[in-house]
Symmetry: C2
Subunit: 339 residues, 2 copies
C-alpha cells in the first residue's frame, strides 16, 4: 500500500479544493476565517459517516465523498440556509491508500464546485495498523458544514401547528430500496430501476433551493435521513403535535411502485427506510396553493401527504399512517439510530 | 455492557451542556444557530483524537473529553480568537459504555463551563462490534470549534519577518516527557514531577487570553501541537523565512530540567516533542519590552527564544537550534504527523 504523509496529502489532494476561499488560507494555517453576512445567523451542523456502517466498503470512493458532503448540506437545506463551506476530518484505514484517496478527493472536488462552496479546513488522521489486536478501524469521514440564514428565518423543527399540511419533496423510499438492491435482497428488478434506486442511495440530492424557498412559508422542516415516519416524528415531538399521513398520498417512484406491487411488505421501507434526504415540512393550510408553485419552481414533485393534529395523551406526538382502508398501518421500522 | 440509545445519550448526557445557548436548540434540531458579532470574522477549526493514537486507552474519560476540547480551543487561541462554542462528533467503541460516557460528559461539561462556551450540536455514531473480522474500531472524538475575531485581526502563520523575535509561552517539552512517563520510559522521577508532567500531557491549557492579547502585536502565531521546531517551522514555511533558536533560551520546567540533567538525550523531546499547546509567536523587535508585560498580565512565562532570519536557498525556511557551544544541534524528531 502506498500512502502519502499527512502534509503531502493535504497539499496535493485537499488544498486545491480550498482555492476559491481566501479565508481557507490554503489549508496551511490552524483555522479558517469565514465571513457571515451581517444580517445573517451562522448555521452549523456536523455528521460522521463510517465505512461498513453508513456506507458500503465497496461504494465508489468518489460517491462516498459526495454523499458525506451531501448529507451535511441536506441539514442546512432543511433549515433554509445557504451553505458557506465545510470542514472535513477524515480518519484513514489500511484500505484507504493513495488511489482510494485520489478518487475520494476527485468526487469531493466535483461536488464542492457543483454546490459552489470551498473546503475550508480539516484534519487528517489514521487508524493504527490492524495487525495488533484491538487496533485498526474503518475509514471515517466527519464533515462540519457551515451556512448562513437571514436572522430569525431558520426553519426549525418546533413550529408545526395543528391544521398544518404535511408535505414532502421528491419520492420516498428509493434509497432504502437501493440499499436492499445493493445487498442482493431486492428480487426481480430491471437494470434501469436498479441503477436509479442505487443512485438514490449513493448520491442524495440536498434540496438547498427548495429549503431557501420555504423560509417564511413552512412552519417546520426536517430532511429525511432516519426515515419518513421517524423524521416527521421529530417535528411532532419538537412541536408537541402529532401527524396523520395517508398512504395513498405518499410520493413513490415508478421503480418503487413496481417493487411494491410484487412484494407489499416492502411498504415498510417506504415508511421507515432512511437516506432519502428529501425535505418533509409543515405548511399552514392557507398556503395550499403554494405547494404546486414550489413544485413548478424547483422542477420536482412536492406532495401534501397529511395533516398536523393536536396531540392527545394517548397518542404522544406520534405519526399515524392511514392505509387505503382508512385504518392505521403498522410502522415497524421507526428509523435508524446510529448507536 | 450497557449503552443507551443515540437519542437517550444526547438527551441525558449532552443536551444539558447546550443549555446556555438558545441557538443550540437543545440539541433537538439538525443544526445550531450562532451569532457572529458584525465587526468580527468567524474562525473555525476541526480536530480528531483517536483512542490509542492521540490519547491512551487508559486515560481517564473526563480528561480525554477535556483534552479533545482544549486542543481545538488552542487553535483558536493561536489566532487571537474568542471561542463561541463547539460541535462534537463521537464514534463509540465497544469499550465506551454508559459509565465511560458519563465520566466523559462530566469532564466535557466541566470544561465548557470553565471556558464559558456551549456544546452547539453533534453527532453520535458507533463502530460495528469487533467480533466480525475487519469490524470494530477505537473511540474517536472530532470537535469543530467556532470562534470570532475582529475582522482582519486574526494572527496568521504567514506574517513573520526577518528580524522579528521568536517567543514562546509557558514551558516546553513537559507533555512529551509526561507521555514518556506514562509509558514507563522516564526513569527516576519524583511523584510531584511525575504528576506535573503527566498532567501537562493530559490536560493542556489553551492560551486564549494570551492569544487575544497578541492581536495587533504578533506577526505570526501557532500553537505547539506537533513539536516546538516543527510548529515554528510551519510559521517559517508560511512566511518564507527561517528561524534561529537558542537552546539556552528555551523555557524548561524544573521537572524537565532535572530529567535532562540525568539524561541529555531527552533534549530531543524538548525540541521535537508535541502536545504542549503553548503559543509560539513572532514579534517585531521594537516590541521587546512587551514580552515582560505579557508575562506579567497573563501570569505565565513568556520567553524570547530566538530570531527570524532571512531564508537562503540552502536553508529552506527551516529552524536551527544553536547549542551552548554556538553550534547547530541535531533535531531528530521533526514533529508528529498523524498519518
Amino acid at each position: 500500500m502506498t500512502r502519502r504523509g499527512e502534509f503531502e496529502l493535504i497539499a496535493s489532494l485537499f488544498a486545491p479544493l480550498s482555492r476559491m476561499a481566501s479565508g481557507a488560507l490554503g489549508l496551511t494555517d490552524d483555522v479558517a476565517l469565514i465571513d457571515v453576512a451581517p444580517d445573517c445567523e451562522l448555521v452549523a451542523t456536523i455528521d460522521t459517516v463510517i465505512a461498513g456502517v453508513h456506507f458500503r466498503v465497496d461504494d465508489p470512493p468518489d460517491l462516498v465523498a459526495r454523499k458525506a458532503l451531501r448529507v451535511n448540506l441536506s441539514d442546512l437545506a432543511a433549515k433554509g440556509a445557504r451553505p458557506l463551506g465545510v470542514l472535513q476530518a477524515i480518519t484513514l484505514s489500511e484500505a484507504t491508500d493513495d488511489s482510494y484517496l485520489e478518487r475520494y478527493a476527485l468526487g469531493l472536488g466535483e461536488d464542492l464546485r457543483h454546490f459552489g462552496i470551498p473546503l475550508l479546513g480539516g484534519d487528517t488522521t489514521a487508524h493504527r495498523p490492524a495487525t495488533v489486536p484491538g487496533r485498526g478501524g474503518p475509514f471515517t469521514i466527519t464533515i462540519a458544514a457551515l451556512g448562513e440564514v437571514p436572522r430569525g428565518q431558520a426553519i426549525l423543527r418546533r413550529g408545526a401547528r395543528p391544521g398544518d399540511l404535511v408535505c414532502v419533496s421528491g419520492t420516498i423510499g428509493d434509497a432504502a430500496l437501493g440499499l436492499l438492491a445493493l445487498e442482493g435482497r431486492l428480487p426481480a428488478c430491471t437494470h434501469a430501476h436498479y441503477d436509479m434506486l442505487v443512485r438514490r442511495y449513493r448520491l442524495p440530492e440536498p434540496r438547498l433551493a427548495l429549503g431557501q424557498s420555504l423560509r417564511g412559508l413552512a412552519t417546520a422542516c426536517v430532511d429525511i435521513s432516519d426515515g419518513l415516519c421517524a423524521d416527521i416524528g421529530h417535528i411532532c415531538e419538537a412541536s408537541g403535535v402529532r401527524a396523520e399521513l395517508k398512504w395513498h398520498a405518499l410520493p413513490v417512484s415508478a421503480a418503487a411502485q413496481r417493487r411494491l406491487a410484487d412484494d407489499p411488505s416492502l411498504r415498510q421501507f417506504i415508511l421507515g427506510g432512511g437516506d432519502d434526504y428529501e425535505l418533509a415540512f409543515t405548511l399552514p393550510s392557507s398556503h395550499r396553493a403554494r405547494v404546486q408553485e414550489l413544485a413548478m419552481r424547483h422542477d420536482m414533485p412536492v406532495a401534501v401527504i397529511g395533516r398536523v393534529r393536536e396531540s392527545s395523551d394517548s397518542e404522544k406526538n406520534g405519526v399515524t399512517v392511514l392505509g387505503d382502508d382508512g385504518e392505521p398501518m403498522p410502522v415497524e421500522k421507526s428509523g435508524f439510530t446510529h448507536v
